[in-house]
């Protein structure tokens, strides 16, 4: 039986949303030191313990859009969409090995952004500006996509039009302004309880109703059940799949919102512990991914009740339709509230992260170098508001903005990975020359964007032809290789000509 969006679902949804939003405002008073400075607002005073960091990073990295788009990919593409699982597995060994080091050097030197570190390590404000601008540009479409996630769910509740989005985003803007990073940290706890309840219920109820997993997977077209195998002169979809997972994992912790969540941790032990316990979210994500296959098996795509939704939102409507079909209406309210609240957390952190970058690496560096800590804080708070309002205007003001945001996010991953040599390799050696890093960054961005453009921005996999073999490779990986080659070669040249004497504001002891 198909449930129409009901008042029960809507009532449960509204009550949960309002309660969670209130938590965001109360968060301002939580562990507040009262000091007016950017690390208090923008990093929550660097005091979050293991559990809060776990909720914060979980809410930050596994966003509402993820919960809609990953199952949608399985629903539409089949096996290819499952790359999100190896991607989230690849993230944590990197986080464990590398990021305690970044945290330590940031703490020792009062760095608020990754670009701050690059500025100190290489003594180049130009390279730091490149890192900061890449971060901001890569984050903006991500925020817009959170709105897309909200729109789909609200559509499922039968709410259309712009005003609910405006209300939701006004709420985020208000508590972000007042509470800073503390707001998403507290909200993330509530959001995750809702998410885990939804996932567990979905995994218990839906497979049973659909007649078990064998039947669910039988509904997948045979060509989409697995990846197309390699042939004599083509490495096959598996190569694209593997590079997509690896490239996405390398890019993830370069995103400003990930760095912000990480820098909020109270110690590097917190960072390490989180690398061990964050995979719990990956498990939830893996199970949520399978919801896409369940949606396929449930046949919602051919039911008239959901035709309108699929027409508006495409495959992204698969999970909302599945929930409406399978859950009692009060639980639809819970599940949809989980997704919408799930959008508030990353939207808040992403706006804070962009604001930190703008304030530290553009405003203080180029506009007002002698600004006071209080002034710096005020600029950051206003910048966060501007970012959120900008994302909202973009989505509701521009026709076709949704598709544009998805394209930009695809490019964002390719762009942000170009900061890897400066940020991550920079943690281990300062042999690389800042001008060489800048040239490598530019080469990577141009090559990556060109490859995506060749595919009309519809796919981020570009077939490389090497010695007669075709390798379908994720643009971020191939362009990163080019970036590394350029950075290494030019560093060798510059170091030979100009010598290796450069300023480095960090000391060896800062890294441990």
């Amino acid at each position: 039986m198909a449930h129409a969006p009901s008042t029960t679902a809507l009532a449960v949804f509204v009550v949960l949303f309002v309660s969670v939003a209130l938590l965001g405002f109360l968060a301002a008073r939580w562990h507040q030191s009262g000091e007016a400075q950017i690390s208090e607002w923008g990093l929550g005073g660097r005091r979050f313990g293991t559990l809060i960091t776990w909720f914060l990073l979980g809410g930050d990295l596994y966003t509402a859009y993820t919960f809609i788009a990953v199952p949608a990919a399985l629903f539409g593409l089949g096996a290819n969409g499952f790359f999100a699982v190896p991607y989230t597995i690849f993230v944590y060994p990197i986080m464990f090995a590398v990021f305690p080091r970044l945290w330590a050097v940031a703490r020792a030197n009062g760095y608020v952004t990754a670009a701050d570190f690059v500025r100190g390590r290489f003594g180049s404000s130009t390279l730091a500006l490149a890192v900061a601008v890449t971060g901001i540009v890569a984050t903006m479409p991500y925020i817009a996509l959170q709105l897309v996630g909200m729109e789909v769910v609200l559509g499922g509740l039968g709410i259309h039009g712009n005003w609910p989005l405006v209300i939701a985003f006004a709420t985020v803007a208000a508590f972000t302004y007042t509470s800073g990073l503390r707001a998403p940290a507290i909200i993330a706890v509530a959001k995750d309880i809702l998410i885990y309840i939804t996932v567990i219920a979905a995994i218990i109820i839906i497979p049973g109703e659909l007649g078990g997993y064998a039947k669910i997977f039988a509904s997948v077209a045979p060509a989409k059940l697995l990846l197309a195998p390699p042939t004599a002169n083509n490495l096959g979809q598996g190569f694209g799949y593997a590079t997509l997972a690896l490239g996405s994992a390398l890019a993830l912790f370069l995103y400003p919102h990930a760095v912000t969540g990480l820098f909020g941790a109270g110690s590097k032990h917190v960072v390490r512990r989180n690398a061990v316990i964050l995979p719990a979210y990956s498990l939830a994500l893996g199970l949520i991914a399978l919801l896409g296959t369940m949606a396929l098996a449930s046949g919602v795509q051919s039911m008239p009740a959901y035709a309108q939704g699929f027409k508006m939102f495409g495959a992204n409507y698969a999970v909302p339709a599945l929930f409406l079909q399978m859950f009692p209406s009060w639980f639809v309210g819970v599940a949809f509230a989980a997704i919408v609240v799930g959008a508030l957390v990353p939207a808040a952190i992403m706006s804070i992260a962009s604001a930190n970058l703008f304030t530290r690496n553009i405003y203080r560096e180029y506009i007002h170098p002698k600004c006071s800590p209080a002034n710096e804080l005020q600029v950051a708070k206003i910048a966060a508001l501007v970012v959120l309002i900008g994302a909202l205007c973009f989505i509701i003001g521009l026709p076709g903005a949704q598709k544009f945001a998805i394209t930009l996010q695809l490019l964002g991953g390719i762009w942000i990975i170009q900061t890897l040599p400066s940020v991550l390799i920079g943690l281990y050696t300062r042999w690389l020359h800042p001008m060489a890093l800048l040239a490598g960054w530019a080469a990577g961005i141009v090559a990556g964007t060109w490859m995506a453009a060749e595919k009309d921005f519809a796919s981020s996999i570009y077939p490389l032809h090497i010695l007669g073999v075709t390798a379908p490779c994720y643009d971020a990986i191939s362009s990163l290789v080019l970036n590394l080659v350029v950075s290494l070669a030019l560093s060798f040249v510059f170091n030979t000509i100009m010598g290796r004497a450069r300023t480095d504001a960090t000391a060896v002891g800062d890294y441990v």
Binding site: V85, P86, G238, L246
Partner: protein, 64 residues
């Protein structure tokens, strides 16, 4: 530079296992009806975390 510690080799198995897509791109054996491709990758999520745990223990035992 800190010296190399062998326990850090535990960071690598997930990459080797999952980048080698050909080793798991198949349907059989299924588990509760789920094709191998899907459940094998899901199993690597807790496995990856379990491999990190001994490195974490070793790291925390050092004085700092």
């Amino acid at each position: 530079m800190t010296r190399f510690r062998p326990i850090y080799l535990l960071l690598f198995p997930p990459y080797i296992a999952l980048l080698w897509v050909g080793s798991y791109n198949r349907v059989e054996p299924t588990l509760f009806g789920v094709p191998f491709f899907y459940w094998y990758q899901l199993v690597w999520i807790p496995l990856g975390a379990l491999l990190l745990y001994p490195i974490y223990r070793a790291e925390e035992r050092r004085k700092d």
